[in-house]
Symmetry: C2
Subunit: 114 residues, 2 copies
DNA sequence: GTAACCAGTTACCGAAATGTAAGTAGTTAC
DNA sequence: GTAACTACTTACATTTCGGTAACTGGTTAC
């Protein structure tokens, strides 16, 4: 260790693992970025716009809801529609999402330049 | 879409997926955070401090090296030791790493409070 | 009554990620 | 020569992830 105590290192270790545990996989951060940046979406819209199949999307939305990152609202339309929105808590992930978007855009540039 | 064109949404989509592709899995961001925040580490140190088994650590380090995020230096010690360091390019990921550390620490607090 | 739309769910499958345990290879100390 | 240290690699098993296809259930329009 150069400049941090063992305990601090351990905290950092846990912190990263905790975050990864909540937003793991290929899709959760993408779904959140769509909802956080564009507001409410219906199930079908999310599926089409993200390219996620219904089975996976359904599972991911359940998990995000369990972690209080999105809300699910059933609307009294005919046929029924369901609206998914990001919660205020999900806004706290915006920092992570935006950092990843910026890095990905920059990385793509770097790769193309070569 | 509320405030963004389809093309912009698509770019955001790609950007997130690109980032996830480079730092996928349970371990890469943890390894990078250790190297970025604490400087050079040897193979054994990394394995012990992160709790990653040699097999996985070796694979992850190879992939990080391929993406120019770390460098591998063999030292003329007896027995030979190998030093891993983060590159300048890895520093550009610090924004993502630090955002994840902050979010994870805050999230853990939230969970414990309940 | 049959086709269509919405929001899923179920069954099944293959690939990828991760883990454990043991082994390799070079060097040093006793 | 045997044990111990370094840095891995190999073989194997298991778990998790993600994908396709088909199906359910409720409603509406024709």
């Amino acid at each position: 260790m150069k400049d941090k105590s063992d305990a601090t290192c351990e905290k950092v270790h846990f912190a990263i693992q905790d975050t990864l545990y909540v937003v793991n996989g290929k899709w959760k951060l993408l779904i959140l970025s769509i909802l956080v940046n564009n507001g409410m979406k219906r199930f079908g819209e999310l599926s089409r716009e993200s390219g996620i199949s219904p089975r996976i999307l359904s599972k991911e939305l359940h998990e995000l809801e369990l972690n209080k990152l999105i809300t699910r609202t059933v609307c009294n339309t005919k046929p029924v529609t369901v609206e998914y929105s990001s919660t205020a808590y999900a806004e706290t992930l915006k920092e992570v999402i935006d950092a990843m978007i910026r890095w990905g855009q920059n990385h793509r540039k770097k790769i193309i330049e070569q």
